[in-house]
Symmetry: none
Subunit: 241 residues, 2 copies
């Protein structure tokens, strides 16, 4: 059975303006690789309703899972939950269990659960909550869309709780070989290797580290024996390093 597929949707003007560098896509990519879910696409969009709605529709139709990051705080530009509801054509409102989570958190910390904070309890109908062990305001899953916070620490904590609920296929394994030769010199043998092992994904990633040029060749696939076999062949082909 092929691995499930996934897309990431990062929501936030601050990423596109260059003010903040997105860290969540890279984190998600690593975690999904380990879990045997293939991240196929990532998008970053701004805080604009029609753009977010269109992206959620496109991605949730094309992939098994969509993860979103950002836009679930208390301010006026936090519109992710509403956009998900529009995209999936369901109603949205403050939900009692989400409100209770916020109330308990703010009671503990002596902060007032005002109208703005209460926005964070707006959950589309039919969603299940994703725990936020850092700051209480929950994420949620509805259909194949998983809505997570943008703050990396919270995004990561939410993902940790969510991932075991998703069905992963066989985790991808990888083998890599550091080759201290120009990419152009190994391009032709790599092409031949890719043809011999069509079931593996073979990539070449050039580096220039401390004045040493070369390439890291990475083999990926679900089958360890095939990978070992291909790595041995690769080592033979490009010579001892």
């Amino acid at each position: 059975m092929p691995n499930p597929t996934a897309a990431m949707l990062v929501i936030g003007d601050e990423i596109l303006s260059g003010r903040t560098r997105d860290a969540n896509t890279h984190h998600l990519a690593g975690k999904l690789s380990e879990a045997g879910i293939d991240l196929r696409e990532a998008r970053v969009v701004g805080d604009v309703e029609e753009v977010i709605v269109a992206a959620i529709r496109a991605l949730s139709g094309a992939y098994d899972h969509v993860f979103t990051s950002g836009g679930i705080g208390p301010t006026h530009d936090d519109i992710t939950a509403d956009c998900v509801a529009i995209a999936l054509n369901v109603r949205i409102g403050v939900r009692d269990d989400a409100r209770a989570l916020l109330q308990a958190h703010y009671d503990r910390t002596g902060i007032v659960l005002n109208e703005a904070r209460l926005r964070m309890a707006r959950i589309p109908e039919g969603a299940s909550l994703i725990e936020n062990p850092v700051s209480a305001a929950p994420g949620f899953t509805i259909g194949n869309v998983h809505v997570l916070a943008g703050v990396p620490q919270i995004f990561e904590a939410m993902l940790l709780g969510l991932l075991p609920r998703l069905t992963g296929g066989a985790p991808l394994q990888s083998r890599s070989l550091r080759v201290e030769r120009g990419e152009g010199d190994i391009a032709s043998p790599l092409r031949a290797l890719a043809e011999t092992y069509p079931d593996l994904s073979i990539g070449s990633y050039p580096f220039n580290q401390n004045g040493v040029f070369g390439s890291n060749v990475v083999l990926r696939g679900p089958d360890a024996a095939r990978l070992d076999d291909a790595l041995a062949r690769l080592t033979e082909i490009v010579g001892p390093q």
Copy 2:
């Protein structure tokens, strides 16, 4: 007049697998902000022809500019140029001026311009080249699509040359000098040069080719006479090569 709009398309399996963290989107976002161009969307896709083609079509239809990053090296998984040609429905082939740039670069460095490396001279019909002062293999602009390298150092150098063409600013010109000495030896004279020529951008890009260590020093600025002057001074400072 509203600012022009732009999208970024990052191409490469290594980003989606979590192996590499994309740095180019954040860099582009900052530079476009300074230049008054609104980055509205970014996407990351894998090395899959139909996905890349669809993304280029969608983004080039929706925004004033599309920047791509990655997939223009010599290996079999470098398919960006071909995908751009398909997306824009133009022919593609090895172009003489691009080949000459590669030939000159490899002649200087004593490397053979083999068939794999020649792939980097494949340019869609009607494109204009984008200078690569680091490793010669050019990027290109066709229509509103700007095709740049994925290695951050090269992406940034290409963008530096490209941006003035898009914003109506004075186009930057460049001069470069190959210095066969360790970067640490020339760092102090380079700093002094940068202080003498504060109007120029001065970069150093280390190499190690066939056991020869050194650095390509690149000077950039709008004024040819200033550049020639600085190049003469640089040559004097670091000694004849």
